[in-house]
Symmetry: C2
Subunit: 199 residues, 2 copies
Amino acid sequence: MSNITRLVVLGAVRQFEPVHGYFLRRELMTWHVDEWANIQPGSIYNALKSLKQDGYIEEAGTEAAGKRPERTIYRTTPQGVVELMRMLRQTLWTVETFDTKPTMALTSFMFLLSRSEVVAALKFRMTEIDAKIASNGFDIADVGHSTTTPAYVREIFELSSLRLRAEQEWVKGLFERITAGNYVFAGDPGSRVEPVEQK
Amino acid sequence: MSNITRLVVLGAVRQFEPVHGYFLRRELMTWHVDEWANIQPGSIYNALKSLKQDGYIEEAGTEAAGKRPERTIYRTTPQGVVELMRMLRQTLWTVETFDTKPTMALTSFMFLLSRSEVVAALKFRMTEIDAKIASNGFDIADVGHSTTTPAYVREIFELSSLRLRAEQEWVKGLFERITAGNYVFAGDPGSRVEPVEQK
DNA sequence: CCTCGAGTAGTCAATTTTGAATATTTGAAA
DNA sequence: TTTCAAATATTCAAAATTGACTACTCGAGG
């Protein structure tokens, strides 16, 4: 499955554990993951099966409320928590030009990391995005000079630039809000989440 | 397969026909469709098979240049052209908040439509995007007042707004360039493409 | 008290996607 | 001349996704 599906489902299990599939399904649907991450209900159950097979989550028995169908309860394993952090970091420290899913997933789960790491990564992202905007500018200039490249390719670069500028503005705003003390991160007083040690 | 894969492959067959799979593969890879549309080489061959099954494209024999492997040549059918125009219009007249693929595909194939239709649709898109930005603004205000919604959900709306603003700016620029006479559309003098009649 | 739509908690077959493998040929360098 | 990496043109098995389907139960309204 796509890494985003894994990340979102594993992150959601972590956030709500012990938790059953149908709860995740409803919760994630209220997050509109079908719109921003292209995750349909069926994919959630599949992700659970696959994460379990990989040993990142495990069954913690089943239960039945009243005479409802049985529900399988899942929780993360220690390896699952490590893997989640790895995926989260990998997303945090990578800037995608076209795909919006990683940034959305990041926003949903960044509080699982420490404030200082998120702040550091956002600084890094600002530099990265600047570089991509600059490289895009040269691409636009090149297309202007080229006699073979179809002219409308310029529009794709143009759109990319504007979109990157938007993300840049957003990262700056988020950076300011976070350094101003907004939101609760792992290890902050009041957080339900302990920061995961780095080796 | 995703509609975007179908749209891009059918559009590419239309643009280059008669054409073989490997040509499309190389051409589309130079368009970086793997990055902006998530289309890997394997998906192109699958799309060709499926489009053929649906009667939107047909085989026009095979050929072998030198002692190279045989290549299957494809071309669109009349139904294929109609279907392509339908998909293209549907994309042109729909604004997606999160998914960037449709707009990218649009940019690649909009010249298959007439200048007047594209201009009309871009006007429509500006209105639509304004509405989405406005609705987003109310969502942000709501999140601020809600006691149950996690605070960081605000960031997702914030990012959406900025991204929509970027797309708005791009649409405006494109609108101006097109009304100023840039680019060649179906039916324009110099176009290789006839406009498709509407019933 | 009966019915009927909505909710519950998934499963499953069909479709799509992925990415590695295949079996060649070509061209360039050593 | 041999050799070897890159290109050619696909195929295919494994994995992922989709969305329709199942087999219930619950609660509200008539």
